[in-house]
Symmetry: C2
Subunit: 389 residues, 2 copies
């Protein structure tokens, strides 16, 4: 839908999108932001469930708007013959079909992986599900909170010695959407170099495991089960929040030279020569003493004062910004990371595309999310035109 | 390094990897898992800083092992003439150069984007940084905790009415690595279809903003600044953890039909007809009453009992698993999401590749991370062979 002279690296790609709610729509949003044309297939009548998720702005879901901007919509009843024919005409022209039904549903609709591979050999099928297309839990339903809980991320997120919490954004869905997008583009590369259009099978649970990072290594190396650690890093110190006189700030000190600079900036240079603190391993081993010594200093001045001094010394640091502060931050603005949807209900801010390149346009305004079925006439006319010999 | 009959969709791709620590190495790990050949350029003597990050297993960093499996290593002093020549011979053959220096450093080494574009027009340069290659904060240093704090994710993660916490894994780095990998493969597609090898500029801060999901929409729609919410979802209910008699479990009830089934499963079917709870909007509006009614029921039986009943009713649910439980879970095992590195110090478990496809091999064992400079002779011999007319 977006017109541009430099339209993104995936321009020319056609994605047929049967996904609903979050993981799938986030995946196809990423593809759309990279220049792909995304045609969203929705159920007649209600459409994507996300159209009903609050908060609502003039009766429209802000949640839906933010995930589906720049896509086209056509309502198709996949169990009705006429609509199946339209669906198949789209698949015949498409590069990618993305779906996030429960495993088995697409098969029962008559469009299982084998059927699609036989009839549409150029089509990359990407399936996103809670637990994956294989394995004993395959057919179970999952939402984000289940993936975060069963995948281990919840067990290591929360206050130190406290109860686990959910990551405040649906990282179970978002991670699956990201991995699926990467898998899709990789599979297209394989196809375009003469390989098959390999289907992609991404599970929310698997993606959570893939994000556990050093937690698995720590368990294997030490036998200790990782726990929530508040704001701190498990094996780098100091790397956490401290309370300045007015509000908290964070510092990340990744090596010993930085620690020396931190000690000097805080006015306690002797700390860097204290044998308890000279190496990262020593600082981790004497964490309580380290924290006490630093906390005492941070409490003596305001967040703003410390940040100015730390920045001057080249020490990674920052305030804990709330979302209102984030969207106004000069760097976030300079990077065009808050773009404006030109919605019929008025302009609406959403996150921009974080894959920046001077070679592609990155407009500050974006087309709106489609009303249900609003692209029907245009899509049918386009199909007819394409099919004319 | 990995030999396979079905070697992954990015096989044949050569990635020269100058990255250190986490965001960059995670990006190139994703590319390696998809079949690319990754040659890691390290500083002579010390190599990647991550080689020193604990926990250590027989003197080797488990952290480094898990992020660098399957890559090759060559130690090059990029400021020395002989090593620059080797580096440039690699770039002449490479598809991708990934770097996560502070913006400006690569330029000062003589390999800025313009130089590379002129000398190596087929090379996609991917730069990962804390704040990006542009904007007023561009040259500031950042580690994960800074990105999480400044990007807003920390402000919405934590106990309800409590202090913010860091996501228990370095999602600031990991998200940047994922977006960069996606950008790289997309840019390659653009190049291979006749476009330029567009450079990619990914910032940790931008990626955090891109993951804020509905938090931006909620702020814009309601004017309320999003806060930490414990384990619950901001606009879907019930969607959180409850205490069973012995330990907590999570449920995710995404629609009204599921809520009816939940009420029946809990033995309180009348709840589904209570006007306070008949719709998701009503349930969110009467959250305290909803939670009290559900909590009373969940406390009456064990986690295992409730999960069996909820699963039978098709309600998304699960236990909060710790990392030890995750790596032994039958679904995680069935999906080959814990693979074994064949390290000289013994086999070592790490997360597998979550981009599954029946078209590509997904071996349960993987080659180890390289010792510093261990690939030198092989890489130089390969270059000489390639360059022989």
């Amino acid at each position: 839908m977006q017109r541009s002279d430099r339209p993104g690296p995936l321009s020319g790609l056609l994605v047929v999108d049967m996904t609903r709610v979050l993981a799938g729509p986030f995946c196809t949003l990423l593809l759309a932001d990279l220049g792909a044309r995304v045609i969203k297939i929705e159920r007649p009548g209600r459409g994507d469930d996300a159209r009903g998720i609050g908060p609502l702005v003039e009766g429209r879901s802000a949640y839906f708007l933010s995930l589906n901007r720049g896509k086209e919509s056509i309502a198709l009843d996949i169990q009705a013959r006429g609509d199946r024919a339209i669906f198949e005409r789209l698949l015949a022209r498409a590069d990618v079909l993305v779906e996030n039904f429960r495993p088995g549903v697409l098969d029962r609709l008559g469009y299982g992986a084998d059927v699609l591979a036989a009839r549409f050999p150029r089509l990359v099928l990407a399936s996103i599900s809670g637990f994956g297309q294989t394995g004993p839990f395959s057919e179970r339903p999952a939402y984000d909170v289940v993936a975060q809980a069963m995948g281990g991320l919840m067990s290591i997120t929360g206050p130190e010695d406290g109860a686990p919490v959910r990551v405040g954004t649906s990282i179970g869905d978002l991670a699956a959407g990201l991995f699926a997008a990467l898998g899709i583009v990789a599979s297209l590369r394989h196809r375009d170099r003469g390989g098959s259009a390999a289907p992609i099978d991404v599970a929310m649970l698997d993606c959570q495991v893939a994000l556990l990072e050093n937690a698995i290594a720590r368990l294997a190396a030490t036998g200790e089960v990782p726990k929530p650690l508040g704001t701190r890093h498990p094996s780098i110190a100091p790397f956490e929040a401290f309370a300045a006189a007015d509000r908290p700030l964070v510092v990340g000190v990744g090596n010993d030279a930085l620690f020396r600079r931190l000690a000097e900036t805080l006015g306690v240079p002797a700390l860097a020569d204290d044998v308890r603190f000279t190496t990262n391993a020593a600082r981790c081993a004497h964490l309580a003493a380290l924290r006490a010594a630093l906390a005492e200093r941070f409490a003596m001045a305001s967040c703003e004062t410390w940040l100015a001094r730390l920045e001057a010394a080249g020490i990674p640091c920052g305030p804990i910004q709330d979302v209102a502060q984030v969207i106004e931050h000069p760097q976030v603005r300079a990077r065009n990371m808050i773009v404006s949807i030109q919605d019929p209900a008025g302009p609406f801010p959403v996150a921009g595309n974080p894959i920046k390149s001077p070679a592609f346009d990155d407009p500050p305004t974006r087309p709106p999310a489609p009303a249900l079925d609003e692209g029907r006439a245009r899509i049918l006319a386009w199909l007819a035109e394409e099919e004319t010999p």
